[in-house]
């Protein structure tokens, strides 16, 4: 995972391997604010290895930066003494780390079986149509909405279920779609 005999790759100044992965660039270097850095330090104390803090650190990065850019991957790698390629491999394994900027409202439609039985796919399609014929996973030109399909949200008794950013919405049927979208503004 690391290059030098003693110094982990991520910590080398001017790491030659930084950016050697498929992440999209945000165009400028990134780093944590003092508050986020403090949260990161508290995090490290909860685990016996630095690497174990990778998922939570990526969460901190996403919260502060909005998405996981090439620069964010390199920065997180340096914080945790991991290679950027390893961090990128982890980022791409999980669905919730955004690898590109997303809209102000990240609208996630569950279309797994219980929501499917309650017509979720139709609502998902109708929502995309309503927001200007968005492609699956597409974002409106004003950057306000991203609409994406996700797997089971564990809200099967309130189908169709939708998650918008960190909030849950229930019984989002086609009839209620207008009210649902109005509620997001």
């Amino acid at each position: 995972m690391s290059g030098g005999a003693n110094t982990p790759l991520g910590e080398l100044p001017g790491n030659p391997h930084a950016g050697e992965h498929g992440a999209r660039s945000c165009g400028h270097p990134v780093s944590f604010s003092p508050a986020t850095k403090a949260a990161f330090d508290r995090l490290l104390a909860r685990y016996p290895t630095k690497q174990a803090a990778l998922l939570p650190t990526l969460w901190l990065a996403q919260k502060e930066l909005g998405w996981i850019s090439r620069e964010a991957v390199d920065y997180v790698a340096s914080l945790l003494s991991l290679s950027p390629a390893f961090v990128w491999g982890v980022v791409t394994f999980y669905t919730m780390y955004n690898r590109a900027p997303v809209g102000e409202h990240l609208i996630q439609f569950c279309t797994s079986i219980s929501c499917h039985l309650n017509g979720a796919e139709k609502v998902y399609a109708a929502c995309r149509k309503k927001l200007g014929d968005l492609a699956p996973g597409g974002t409106t030109p004003d950057g306000k909405y991203t609409v994406v399909e996700v797997e089971c949200l564990a809200q099967c008794d309130k189908a169709p279920a939708v998650q918008v950013n960190e909030d849950d919405f229930f019984y989002v049927t086609e009839e209620k779609l207008d009210d649902f979208l109005k509620g997001l503004k």
Partner: protein
């Protein structure tokens, strides 16, 4: 003796009551009495880790996450202190609830988090754990916030931390959020993920009890299982054993009912109640329609027809006898209007999306099944496709892969096609697509025949 008579809810008793999430309310309802009792008794020798483990063993509690493995027995697989080489033991609470149709752990976490924490504390005492983790799925933002608040409250009250309540016992609990991956509910994938890696299941053995997270002995228990531990210590093993169908299926159980019922939701009942009683609790099939099929244990469980599920006791053994599985007690009800080919296609989409990609039969097979099913329901299926679905499915499971994900992925396809074959064939017949141009064996060159035989039919 075991009983199926209705009992007042235990696990969900506090759900929906004011202040159910707060430490103050929890303590007012008798919460943390067991934790205090066990800690106080630990210095006098009245309470020992072995005593707690014995209680859990005697209760007959089986894991509520899906596999139904006896909880107390799982704990005894952790090597004794002298054989651990100074390594710590870790307890991981599996809150990666992602099986389609399952939403019971969410209720426990969001509505009564201290109950789960107390279960973790008692399990930690039994297992000599100094640091326990809750691995909660990333999508449960609210659950993670509620749990973090509950941990902070417990720490402030001295119920967690160093030398808890002067007992000499140290215990920390950390809430760890996943990043969105169904496979992390599999215990070794969860361990890998907690270590900061991709959630790839490990080859077993070694089992986590011997070599788990950070190479240390580790016990992974489901949220509901740990909540049950609290009540076992509260009320005793006999009480727990007095609820349920028989000695192998004991205790109160949370059933998640969704799909085409009048009142979908989480229902607490003695484990093993008959199917009809459960359906009645959920208000029956929606709109007075007829029942067509039931998935009794989450999307991974083989589906049962209305006739097959009639009278089945809803527990581990009852559903195994009906050739399905109890799983996470996620019961998905489908009425007579359900298009079974579309339902199976939908489930195959889930598994194609969630395969971790580690083993070829699963990584390649799950999207293949999904593509074929999508083509069938889109009206482009060929007659041979139905048989090919079965052929592909049969080459993915039964030990072809590291974990049982592939077995889970093929269960709905195999059971769906076996039980509702005419619906798949109707799509194919309507499509009228030309058949595959199959050459007679003699026309196939020796080279191609050799390749086919080696690659497909062994």
């Amino acid at each position: 003796m075991a009983g199926l008579d209705p009992v007042p809810p235990v696990l969900t008793a506090r759900v929906g009551t004011p202040g159910s999430r707060k430490l103050e309310g929890y303590v007012a309802d008798g919460g943390y009495a067991s934790w205090r009792k066990v800690l106080a008794g630990s210095s006098t020798g009245e309470w020992t880790p072995a005593k707690v483990t014995e209680m859990v063993k005697a209760s007959g509690l089986r894991g509520r996450g899906g596999a139904g493995f006896p909880c107390g027995m799982k704990w005894t697989f952790v090597p004794p202190k002298e054989k651990r080489g100074g390594k710590p033991v870790y307890l991981l609470c599996n809150a990666d609830e992602s099986e389609p149709g399952t939403f019971k752990d969410r209720v426990l976490i969001e509505e009564d988090p201290h109950q789960v924490l107390e279960g973790m504390m008692l399990a930690s005492f039994a297992l000599d754990v100094k640091h326990a983790y809750v691995y909660i799925r990333g999508e449960m933002w609210k659950g993670a916030a509620v749990l973090n608040e509950a941990v902070a409250e417990a720490e402030a009250a001295g119920l967690l931390g160093k030398n808890v309540l002067g007992s000499g016992v140290d215990l920390d609990i950390t809430v760890h959020r996943g990043g969105g991956a169904y496979i992390c509910g599999e215990e070794t994938a969860l361990i890998e993920s907690l270590e900061g890696k991709r959630g790839h299941p490990r080859i077993k053995p070694p089992f986590p009890a011997v070599w788990g997270v950070w190479g240390c002995p580790t016990v992974v228990n489901n949220v509901e299982t740990l909540a049950c531990v609290k009540h076992v210590v509260d009320r005793g093993a006999d009480w727990f054993k007095g609820i349920g169908r028989n000695d192998r299926n004991t205790g109160p159980k949370l059933y998640c009912i969704s799909g085409h019922v009048e009142k979908p939701g989480v229902y607490e009942a003695p484990i093993g109640i008959p199917w009809e009683r459960l359906l009645e609790m959920a208000g029956g099939v929606r709109g007075g329609r007829k029942l067509k099929a039931v998935i009794p244990g989450g999307a991974s469980a083989p589906m049962l027809t209305a006739a097959e599920i009639a009278g089945v006791p809803m527990d581990f053994d009852g559903l195994a006898a009906a050739k399905s599985m109890f799983g996470s007690a996620a019961i998905i009800v489908m009425d007579e209007m359900t298009d079974m080919a579309k339902a199976v296609t939908n489930i195959s989409k889930f598994f194609a999306h969630e395969s971790c990609g580690q083993c070829t039969p699963c990584r390649e097979g799950t999207p293949w099944l999904n593509k074929m099913l999508k083509r069938i329901v889109a009206g482009g299926g060929k007659k041979a496709d139905v048989e090919m679905l079965l052929s592909v499915a049969n080459q993915m499971a039964n030990g072809m892969t590291i974990c049982v994900f592939a077995d889970a992925a093929v269960a709905p396809v195999l059971s769906g096609v076996a039980k509702f074959r005419e619906e798949f064939e109707a799509y194919v017949a309507k499509a009228g697509a030309p058949e595959y141009g199959l050459a007679a064996p003699g026309e196939v060159s020796a080279k191609v025949a050799g390749r086919t035989a080696a690659g497909m039919h062994d």
